[in-house]
């Protein structure tokens, strides 16, 4: 392993910054969801990098990454479902125009 841990963590930090920028700046609801996925992926990369460099014999790191993946998937499914509902009722999905979700 000639690539140091800091290199992986740096990639993860940059991805996190991009994800935060995306969540805060995008208007399309799906784009906001996708940016949130980028943040979750940055976290996953951190988890796996720490697993490999700190405790490769304890698989807790991989299980944690798997849990993050599950949460990302469910978030994606429910988020998209909310958007389908809003879209079918109002025919638009720009987040800054949706003040309340009660419908």
């Amino acid at each position: 392993m000639s690539v140091p841990l800091a290199a992986y963590l740096a990639v993860s930090a940059v991805l996190f910054g991009i994800g935060v920028f995306g969540v805060l700046s995008q208007r399309g609801a799906v784009m906001v969801l996708m940016s949130a996925e980028v943040i979750l992926n940055a976290a996953m990369l951190n988890t796996i990098a720490f697993w490999r460099y700190r405790a490769p014999n304890d698989f807790a790191g991989q299980i944690f990454a798997l849990v993050i993946l599950t949460i990302a998937a469910v978030e994606m499914a429910v988020g998209l479902a909310v958007m389908v509902m809003i879209y079918r009722r109002r025919k638009m999905q720009m987040v800054d125009k949706i003040a309340e979700l009660r419908g």
């Binding site: 000639s2 990639v11 991009i18 700046s25 995008q26 992926n41 796996i48 698989f59 993946l69």
Partner: protein, 244 residues
């Protein structure tokens, strides 16, 4: 693996991951955005492989290829212009009416475009974030300081179509960029200021078997919680997404 090969692969994959995520935010085409993000996630899976987490890498690709394809379908379904008018490749005039998307584009921007065709050097420039800011010369937007772009340019941020506001980003883009930059920079500084230990050696193992055993013994709670989470997601999707 020799250090040179490892560094090359790492740099390629890291560039792919970061560039994919960034390009996703800067493109007008929804489908391209999805494909770029998929590329980013697959590069991260490649990094997982470099870190010898092969099972997680496969899971990551499986989940996100399927997930991103579904997301692309939803974006195409829900956004007013998912192709970014096919990346604004300005079609020749005589073929204009054959394509509906471009035709609307043409109707809305028709006057402006005709102008620019008549007098090519009188190009108009506009801010990607503030469509009402117009200028005859390139420069910076007086409100947000972003670089002005030509109105007929392909990949700028704002299009007006059917009277709808088509911007991909809202007016708080600049503060968002600052917050994102600060978040990334703080993390980066923290990462680089610490002296991390190097990696311990790794025995040859079957990660599928170990993860499976852990999921069925020590982390069974994660396994069952996942089942509950998944059924919650399913029920939510069915309730929210069904037709009236």
């Amino acid at each position: 693996m020799s250090p040179a090969v490892e560094w090359t692969l790492f740099l390629l994959l890291a560039t792919g991951a970061i560039a994919g995520a960034y390009r996703m935010l800067r493109t007008m085409s929804m489908v391209r955005a999805g494909i770029f993000l998929m590329g980013s996630f697959c590069s991260i899976a490649g990094l997982f492989l470099l870190l010898s987490a092969d099972l997680i890498a496969a899971m990551q690709i499986m989940m996100y290829v399927g997930g991103m394809l579904v997301m692309i379908v939803f974006m195409v379904m829900m956004s007013p212009d998912p192709g970014g008018s096919m990346m604004g490749i300005a079609p020749p005039e005589e073929e204009m009416d054959m394509q509906r998307g471009s035709k609307q584009h043409h109707d809305m921007q028709g006057d402006r475009m005709n102008q620019s065709h008549e007098s090519a050097d009188e190009k108009q420039y506009t801010c990607p974030m503030h469509p009402d800011v117009r200028s005859d010369s390139p420069g910076k937007c007086p409100r947000c300081g972003m670089k002005l772009q030509p109105t007929s340019g392909a990949e700028h941020g704002v299009m007006e179509m059917q009277g709808m506001d088509m911007a991909m980003t809202h007016e708080f883009t600049r503060p968002a960029a600052i917050i994102g930059f600060i978040a990334g920079a703080v993390l980066l500084a923290a990462v680089l200021s610490f002296d991390w230990p190097s990696a311990p050696g790794l025995a040859n193992f079957d990660s599928g078997l170990i993860v499976g055993k852990e999921l069925l013994s020590r982390y069974m709670i994660a396994f069952e919680a996942a089942a509950i989470l998944i059924i919650t997601g399913m029920v939510g999707a069915v309730i929210l997404g069904r037709r009236e």
